[in-house]
């Protein structure tokens, strides 16, 4: 039964990727100046609470949220950037304070924060991430897991000067 769900997701994700690829190719002519900034995703800022503390781990952990932060244009990795993460997990709902936490990128611009297992809510297993420190333009991301059984999720930021 799980394979049916997986196949459906893969199909949807696949057709979405084809569509997105086709559309963005039409809308965005190749830009010589390099890497474009990541736009905020729709619904990305839902249940955002400003200023979550930097933590070792959110709750009891068991699930890994990771990603990278780079600068628009030259794509240089950005170290020391604070990324805030929240989701509906086995330990709480999105709007609850203890579901929120933040981490900081390393010298390679990578971040990784352990958090409780994300579960599907509002029809999709998804997480929320924010860059909101002000040096660059604020970006909210809302990545979706390919399957609710996955125990990790990635999101990548390319930030533009504020």
């Amino acid at each position: 039964m799980a394979s049916v769900a997986l196949d459906r997701r893969t199909l949807i994700a696949g057709s979405g990727a084809v569509l997105a690829g086709g559309v963005s190719a039409l809308l965005l002519p190749a830009r010589a100046e390099g890497l474009a900034a990541t736009p905020s995703m729709s619904g990305g800022s839902n249940n955002y609470i400003k200023g979550a503390p930097i933590v070792e781990r959110i709750g009891k952990g068991g699930f890994w949220m990771s990603g990278t932060v780079r600068r628009a244009g030259d794509g240089a990795p950005l170290a020391g950037q604070r990324i805030q993460i929240w989701a509906h997990t086995v330990e709480g709902q999105e709007h609850e304070k203890h579901s929120h936490g933040a981490t900081v990128t390393d010298k390679n611009g990578a971040f990784r924060l352990e958090m409780p297992q994300i579960i599907p809510i509002f029809g999709q297993p998804h997480g929320h991430l924010a860059y909101d420190s002000g040096d660059f333009k604020t970006v909210f991301l809302r990545p979706v897991m390919r399957s609710p059984k996955e125990t990790k999720l990635e999101a990548h930021f390319v930030l533009d000067k504020a």
Binding site: R9, G43, G44, N47, H95, F122, G123, Q124
Partner: protein, 204 residues
């Protein structure tokens, strides 16, 4: 109709709605959800079940129900469907207002939301127009209702299939398929028959 066949039809209908309900009630996800979110989810599943019942009632496919009783029940169940949708939307709104507002304004990132919201408006439209059906005239009412019913079934089925939640995939797909087939059959029959029946369809 032979009693065995009548019993089989009722058994299939009961299973088509009861099995997905029971499997959803056994979902692991419920442990991590609040009571209001769970209520909202089950209101949505109930609404999907009622979308299957509606064409069966109006098409006269349910054994033991006279065509008069079938039509009367169709109206009450229509009201119940609208109410289930209100509970579904209200419960989700209270659980996470920004997500519900995104859905209602057609700005949600989730691909299933516009289908559900469109079906919701079609359900509300039928519910309101039903009060004016005599003034609209039988022919106009039938045409409008059938068009909106098509929107409700397609919107509701696509919405349900794309949602990843407490419902188990196979039983959900079976319920959706039955609802789509039942609605298509009733609509095809009505369109083929052309003019409305002269048996008091709207008088009563």
């Amino acid at each position: 109709m032979r009693p065995a066949r009548a019993a089989a039809i009722w058994a299939v209908l009961t299973a088509a709605i009861g099995v997905p309900m029971a499997l959803a009630a056994a979902s692991d996800l419920l442990a991590w959800c609040g009571p209001l979110y769970i209520l909202a989810g089950f209101a949505g599943i109930a609404a999907l079940g009622l979308v299957l019942v509606q064409p069966l009632l109006i098409g006269g496919y349910l054994p033991g129900l006279s065509s008069y009783r079938g039509r009367r029940m169709h109206r009450w169940i229509g009201g119940a469907l609208a109410l289930a949708v209100v509970v579904h939307v209200a419960g989700l709104w209270i659980t996470s207002p920004p997500d519900m507002i995104d859905a209602l304004t057609y700005t949600s990132p989730t691909p299933f939301s516009p289908f559900g919201v469109t079906a919701m408006w079609a359900i509300f439209a039928v519910a309101v127009l039903a009060f004016f059906r005599r003034r609209l005239g039988l022919r106009a009412w039938r045409t409008i209702h059938m068009a909106l019913a098509a929107v409700i079934v397609v919107g509701g089925v696509v919405h349900a299939m794309l949602v990843e939640g407490t419902m188990e995939t196979i039983s959900k797909a079976a319920l959706c398929a039955l609802a789509a087939v039942a609605a298509t059959k009733v609509m095809a029959d009505r369109l083929r028959r052309g003019t409305p029946r002269a048996d008091g369809n709207v008088r009563q």
